[in-house]
Structures are given as structure tokens and as C-alpha cells.
Amino acid sequence: MSRILLEMREITKTFPGVKALDNVNLKVREGEIHALVGENGAGKSTLMKVLSGVYPAGTYEGEIHFDGEVRRFSTISDSEHLGVIIIHQELALVPLLSIAENIFLGNEVATNGVINWPQTFKRTQELLDKVGLREMPSTLITDIGVGKQQLVEIAKALSKKVRLLILDEPTASLNEKDSDALLKLLTEFRTQGLTSIIISHKLNEIKKVADQITILRDGGTVETLDCHGQDISEDRIIKGMVGRDMEDRYPPREPRIGETLLEVKNWNVYHQQHRDRQFLHDVSFSVRAGEVVGIAGLMGAGRTETAMSLFGRSWGHKITGEVRMRGKPVDVSTIEKAVKAGLAYVTEDRKELGLVLINNIMHNTTLANLKDVSRNAIIDERKEAQVATGYRSKLRIRSHSIYQEAVNLSGGNQQKVVLSKWLFTNPEVLILDEPTRGIDIGAKYEIYTIINQLAAEGKGILMISSEMPELLGTCDRIYVMNEGRIVAELSREEASQESIMRAIMRSGEKH
């Protein structure tokens, strides 16, 4: 058994009114991959901020032992100096600078402030070889995908003589192929003796690579599981995270399916930027009343683009095709018309596209349908408060009042506010784009329950998700998309992770 590289002892960190960490213990052995899991708000990010010196020594209680000594980091550069490097979920790269410039940003290969470019490029090339990224050092960050950007971050960490690499949700925005490659890279580094901590919500990935798993719940350490010599099931991890058995991650539902609500035929869309490239090809699908329909596919398959082009032409150009609601052709050429036709679109990115974060819950709830809380363009504040209060209790939005700003809510509650906004427009068909991304398991369950309720009320639900188990657990029918086409339609009985992947792979061979 190898020695302990990092030990955090009885770390307690309080913010005004909240105890974010309460006597947390973490032991990481040299040369292992240590997974840190827990629901949102469990304290993972706070713990890592304590470790890296974002919260300087003295603002928390407890001790950090690194490499056998007690360390008191007062800035991030203190911890980086010892080789403790964090890669945050939101990548810290400058889009319009090159890979080489990003890797050595703040740490330039220079003498007296004059950069040595040949040396910079040479060292960049070495680092890129190490992480297996085949790009030119002079390529701009903006020209490479998120998966590759993640690798640039890792190369940047390697350039700083990393001893403990901390990855915060490294695969959250990666597709499965890129995720696998990244995890493989981590295991390769492990054989070279690099220690890493990985924070993730994706339990299947953690199962694949972790040597030990530490579970946090409500700011405290629940347990540390050793993955050697025993098979730890996902359910076992979840039990630790939520503090109870999760017998069923998806609430049961008896589908009562009615007439066809939304019908889209031969939907063709050209790319928003590359205007001569056709992005969606003859996409046709339908959603019936009381039905939950899924769209599966890899990143870039055209799922979000289908939804957004349909919703008031918010994406793409040269859009052609036919849209019917209850059999009648409808005009969805602007968002206003799409809403009037009975469509609602809950965006993938709630912070960027869904919410006005600096506004309160009430203002966000009524934003898409102000006319129902106003008369002659004058807002009836009492009615508005009633509406917001109603949705707050119906969807169980946890907040101290409807006047709380959206920015202060947790991810799950923010998602519920976005849902409230669209429910208040009284749509017939709701398009939900990654409705549970980045929210914790308890809140996910609540979102599924809401989806079931809506279906029971006779609404049609079109759900886009990258998590296949989620689609399989909630949908009555699943369309599979790949490269801008619908390549399969699977009934609940036919659908499985294998059948979806098979459909994607087969369609890839054809083209």
C-alpha cells in the first residue's frame, strides 16, 4: 500500500449563516485516482477551494497535510507551487489565444519578459504528445472542441509539474467518446504515478476508474469506499449520497396516450454560421397527448438545433418543413407565434438562456407571459405574486420567498423556475432540453415527477437528453438522431442502451 500524499483533517468551513463543511476528512494515497462524489451542495467544490487556497488558511478550521507536512496555503499560487492543480468545470482558457499561449499563460517561457517562441512551441508539442492531442500548438482554442480544450487544460497542468491533479466535473460537457478518452488518459497517468482527484456526477465513469471513492453529504464525510477487491454498485454509491436507498430512480407512470399534438414533417435546416451547409435533413417526428417522447443522440447530432429551429427559428437559417398542432398547420416562425401555437422550449443552458439571474423568482416566472398578469400593459402585482406563489408551491421550489433572486438558487430549483415560466404560458407540448443536467439526484427525481404530472394532465413532452438511462427510464418512445437525421424510432420495449448505440453506429456507417 502506497503512502498518503494528501490528508485533510477535520476541515470545517462556515459562511455567514451556513456551515458548508463540517469536520470533513479526506485521505488520498499517492498514485491513485480518488473520486469525490456527493449531491450538489454537499461541499465538494468548497473542499477543493479550501485545498487550493482559494479560501486561504485561517478562514477554515482543520489541517491540510501534503507530502507529510502541514501546509497553510494562503493563495492559489502557494498550492500550485507544490503541484496541486485544479481544472475547473468552466474551463479557464482564453478562446482567441493559441494552445501554446494558453498553456504557458502566466508562466511564459521568457527571458526578461521577451517570449522565447521556438522553445514555447517545442515544449507545447511535448505536452500535447503526452496528453495525446493532435493539434498544432498555434491553433486557436476557439477552433477546437470542448473535449480537446479539456486536454489542453490537462497539458497546462502538466507544464506546471503537477503532483495532485484535481478535475472538477471533467466530462460534464463531453460526449461519450471524448469522456472515455479522457478517463483512459487519467488511468495512463496513474501508471506513471500521478495522483488525481476527480469530482463527478457520472457514477458509471467513477466506477470505471476510481481506486477510492469518498462520499460527501450535507457538508460532512459519509464514508470512503475502497474499490479494490469488491464490486461497488452505483446503487451503493447513491445510497451513500442521498442517505437512503434509491430503489427506483424514476417514478412510475401509467401512460394514457391520446391524439397527436405536435407533428413535424421534413424539417430541413441550414447551419447558422456555415450558411451553405445543411445541418438537419428531413427530420420528422410527432408527439401525442400524454406521451413522453425522447430524442437520443451524441453531442452534435442536431437535437438542440431541431428544438431551437422549431421554436421561433431561434437557430439556423433557410428553414423549411411542415409543423402541425392537432392536425392543423401552424406558423412557428417567431417565438411569439410558437408560444401561441402551444409550444414551449426549456433550454439546455438555464443560466445563459433560461433565466434572468439577477431578477427574482416571480419576475422570471411571468416573463414569457406577462399579458396574463397585466391589463393594458400595467402589471397587476398582486396577481403576479399569486401566480409565482402557486408555481413555487406546486413545483416545490425551495427558496425563502418568490422575491429571492434566481442567482441564489441551486441548480435544481433554478430549473424548476424555468419550468414554471413555461408552464405559465400554458403550452400543449413542452420541449425539455437536458432538463436534469448538472442537478443532483434528489432534484432529478422531482423533475421526473413533474414530467409525469404534466403527461398525466395531457400535455405532450419532448425530452432531449444525453443520459440514456434517463431517457429509458422516463420515455414512452425514443427517436435516435445522428448527424442531423432521425435514424431510428424505438418503442419503450425496443429501446435499450444497446439498441440506441447500434442505431447510431449503423447510421454512421451508411454515410
Partner: protein
Amino acid sequence: MATDTTLPKKQPSVGDYLKRNIREYGLLVALVMIMIFFQVVTNGVLFRPVNITNLVLQNSFIVIMALGMLLIIVAGHIDLSVGSIVAFIGAISAIMLVKWQLPAIAVVPLCIMAGALMGAAQGYWVAYQKIPSFIVTLAGMLVFRGMTYVVLGGRPVGPFPKDFQVLSTGFIPDFLSFTDPATSVIKNYVALVAVVALVAYAVYAGLRERRVNEQHGSENEPFGFFLVQMGVMGAVAIFIGFQLATYRGLPNVLVVMGVLIALYTFVTTRTTVGRRIYAMGGNEKAAKLSGINTERLTFYAFVNMGALAALAGMIIAARLNSATPKAGVGFELDVIAACFIGGASASGGVGKITGAVIGAFIMGVMNNGMSIVGIGIDYQQLIKGLVLLAAVFFDVYNKNKG
């Protein structure tokens, strides 16, 4: 770090309330302090009836433009062209009134329309062609200034006919003369009655709002606060009303300004248009995806700004009694500064009409007070610049601490 704040509901304590609303009260306190300061150092000249009247006349146009500028800033934009619009409208009003002998009653609406058109011309590029407003209005600033020189031929034009000057130098006549103005202290009862009635209405409206808030469970400021605030504001208002009443009464521009302040406060706080502007400034993409026509809204914010700048331009021309090519130089900066001192955020989505108005008055009282004391224009600029920086720093400091 997501911290789920499930706080129990409770009445806010005075301290908490003060902390959370420090910006608004701080602003008001700052204005009162600045007033008291200059009242003392000018040996009481600041609050002399004639000076109060001057203060109103000198600042009305800044306040009027600040109303439009606040909407522009809340929408996430900026308008640098208002000083030039002021000059151009002054110029064309002079041409129409003096050279063409058109009646004032026709010239005023024509000028407002012209201002709206100038705003529309800029709004088009900002809203529909997505050119940053800073650049569009910088271009507008140069273009409209140039047009002013062209129209005036580089020379001032004036004087204006009497019926146009009334816009800026006129007073509301005293139709309630209880006593003989020659002997009585009170020369104009309308001013006094109007101010007292307004204060009474403000108290009534404030109480009613508290009651409504209580009914649907939203938060009220502590009652003590309400009393103190109403008391101070009421006392100041009645004092100013009394002072004005001992002179020539209510200036016409004060009434125009008051009506506009009330109108824009209502629009920003109670109407759907106001709500949409705040949402757009807070997150344009989310607003757009909520079905809000953000382009049209931006366009009309600039149209509105142009119309208000036109009104300000006429008030200035009428006050100076001539249109000069250099009118309004640098006004855009005073107007923008008023909004930022008043708590508007440069990134959009945040700001209040009342804040912008108080911000404008802080600038105005400082200008006026420093002039009376005899501080040169050089030091005035310096001091105003520092006040702006201090006010914004105060915002940032509070935000980081909270």
C-alpha cells in the same frame, strides 16, 4: 458553491433592512448631506428662493435626459449622442421660430419628432444591425454636432419669441391669490398648495402600498424607516415649496420634469414594457427566448431617448434665448454620470428612475454650490469625477461584501 437558502420567513430587522438597501438610503443621505454642506458653506445662499429656482432651471434638462438614459443603460446600452441632439434640436427650433416665424405650438411637437427620428436612426443600427451602441452613438455625436454647425452656419441664432421662452423661464400663474402679493410673504399660493397636496398624496400612496404588500405577504420596510423617510422627504419638499412660493412660484419646467419623473417611474416599475427592458438588460438571450422582441424594445429605447433629448434641447435653447453650435457639449457625460451615481449598472438590468433623478440632483447641487462658493470649472470637473468614482466604488464594494 450552491447553498440552498431555505430561510424561515421573518420580519426584517432594522439593521438587516438597512444593510440590504444601503444603496438607496445612502444615496438619499448623500444628497441631503451635500445640500446641508453647501447650505452652510454658502451662508444660506443655496436655499434662497431665487437659487432654488435657478437650481431647477439649470438641472431640469439633465434630469429629463437621465430618464431616457436610465432606460438605455438598463437595456444594456449607452447613448453618447444626447449632447449633440440637444444642440441640433436647439438649432432647428431657432431656424423654424426665428427665420421661418413658425408658431411655437407647431415647433415643439416637430422638434420632438425630429429628436425621435434621430434616436430611431441610431436605434436601427444598434438593434437590427447589432453594432455596439457605444460606436453608433459616438458616430451620432459627431454627425449631429456637424449638422448643427451646418444648420446654424457656425453662428448663434436668436432671440426666441416670448411664447417659446415660456417653456423654460415661465412660472405657473397664481390663480389662488388669497393675499395681495405686494405685501404678503407668500407670493404664489399655487406652489404651496401643489407641494402640500403632493406630499399628502405620497404619504397616502405609501401607506396604501404597505397595506397591499402586507396582504400578499411581500416585504415592507420597517415602519420607523417609512416614517423617517416620509418625514424628511416631506419636510424638504414643503420647505422648497414654501421658498418657491415666496418668489415666483413653480417654474414650468419643474412641472414638466415632475410629470415625466412620475410617468417614467410608473413605466419602469409597473408596466410590461418596463419589466421587459429590465429582463433584456439582465439577460438578453433569455429574454429573447421568452418571446420578447428585444430588437424592437432596443429600437424604441433609443427613439425615446431622442425625444427626451429634443425636449431638453428646446428647454436649453429657450433658457439661453439663442441656439449656439456649442450648446450641450459634454452633457451626455453629466447624464450618464447621474445614472451611474444613481446606482445603475454598466452591465445592464439594474437601475432605478428615482436613483437617476437623485444622482442628477447630487450633480446639480454640487455644480451650483461650487459655483456659488467660487470654485473654478477646472476643480468642479475634478471633484465631480471623483464623486462618480466613489459612488460606483461604493456599489462594487457592497456587492463584493454581500
